[in-house]
Amino acid sequence: MGELAKAFEIPIGPVHPALKEPIRFTFRVEGERIVGVDIKPGFAHRGIEFMGLHRNLVQVLYLAERICGICSISHPVALVQAVENAAGIEVPPRAQYIRVIVAELERIHSHLLWAGVAAHELGFDTLLHLTWKVRERVLDILEELTGNRVNYAIPIYGGVRRDITPEQYPRVQEMIRYYRGLFEELCDRFLNDASVEARTRDVGVLEPDEAEALCAVGPTARASGLRKDVRQDWPYLVYGDLGIKAITPEDYGTEPRGDVYDRIVVRLLEVAQSIDIIERCLEEMPEGEITFIPKIPALLAQLKKAEGEGIGRHEAPRGEVIHYVRLEAGKEEPVVWKVKAPTYSNLMSWYPMFEDQEIADIPIVAASIDPCMCCMDRVHLVRGGREELVWKEELLKLSREKTRKMALGNG
């Protein structure tokens, strides 16, 4: 008996290549209960900052876009702001509005994507297909406005690369109506479902003081009740004029408990918030120029003369992203480029979240901070020195069995 009661370790990973910061988890478990977790990031490192130091600033923009395929405007928006800070470039108001519109469209697609993945982790595939079906609509609009479904290539130093034409307005407004009409149904499907509630209420709890101490950002922090949002606390672009307020579960009328359920609430409400922002932007967007220097060679020449350092911050769908650059006169490439992605700040919140949870809850708790989805590739089990591989399927099976058991238990 004493032998069996001993804690053993479950390493998960080591490579989670779908993440921006790939991760290896090592769970210490006693029976089904998780008593500790160790996290080691840094596996699928592509050396993007290093590559950026050997290319000119416009090429760096393409690299920044490919840090993450889901946040493919968040990183460029943060980078262009950093460079504009350093080089003292003014951005025309219309370009700022266009950046905000595309950034909010991205938030809608990212949150819907996450909601679908969360449903999948719970074994609720019908809901995955429903959310991904409605998500296609925002991708259509992104394609219409930018020319691509993912990787939009919209921001450029001092502006944006594409304008929104008058014919496109009605199509965006139609999308806004479509999502407004759907919103209640979507909320109902997620938030009033007994099995979703049973699997997510009081699971993976992050207390507000823990969230604060561990520097959680984005929906992860807001679900714990912290009113923390770069768009509100450190307004940039035109967010200051739009009067954004950080969303917490209180806006849904419940006390924040910091569990997975609250993270679903916050993300769904943020979809509605983004829709409102896009609508306001379309109304308030002034006519005018969309770039500071339209010609790329002239822009590069101007940037080559710039000297100084700058910081760009942006509230990505997952939280705050920060880019820091230092430029030196006479050099086309940045001398320093430092990127801090939101998942990096949120990693530490996994420690309190996993504590005292069951193994079957690993997929949904890991997914709840939205670390970029397909991270649970495989589980590496070490039992008494013997190693065996448990694949994602088996973990999913465990998770689904738990849903079924709970559903049966609730009658």
Binding site: V15, F50, R66, R149, M373
Partner: protein, 144 residues
Amino acid sequence: MKLSSFKRALWVFHVASGSCNGCDIEIVAALTPRYDVERFGIRLVGTPRHADVLLVTGPVTRPMAERLRRVYEQTPDPKAVVVVGGCGSTSGVFYESYNVVGPVDEIIPVDVYVPGCPPRPEAIIDGVVKAVAKLEKLEAGETV
């Protein structure tokens, strides 16, 4: 190629060898209602041992190279490898990095390249269909 040439369901395993998630979400999009590849019997499986086709995304990073090779060896013959995305096909923007050892065809043999950053779901489906054609030829004992 006509759809009637699908003789059986085709199982696909997705390996992300350091990708940025762009291609990965498009692969998932191909599975969900708008594109719905399951109507052709194509589905994602959780282990390479069940797979007919490997979908590889991403430039291969140094720690992933060995794992990619292992996944390829674990996939039973006959098999086809489809590279999804520009960076897996040619390294794309990720050149001159100390930690990228790709493109994919330097690590494992590749049958179909799907270019694009990221390719549209239709293009990914087309790539898998081309892989089917190759598999059927292999099964008939023809050389490709």
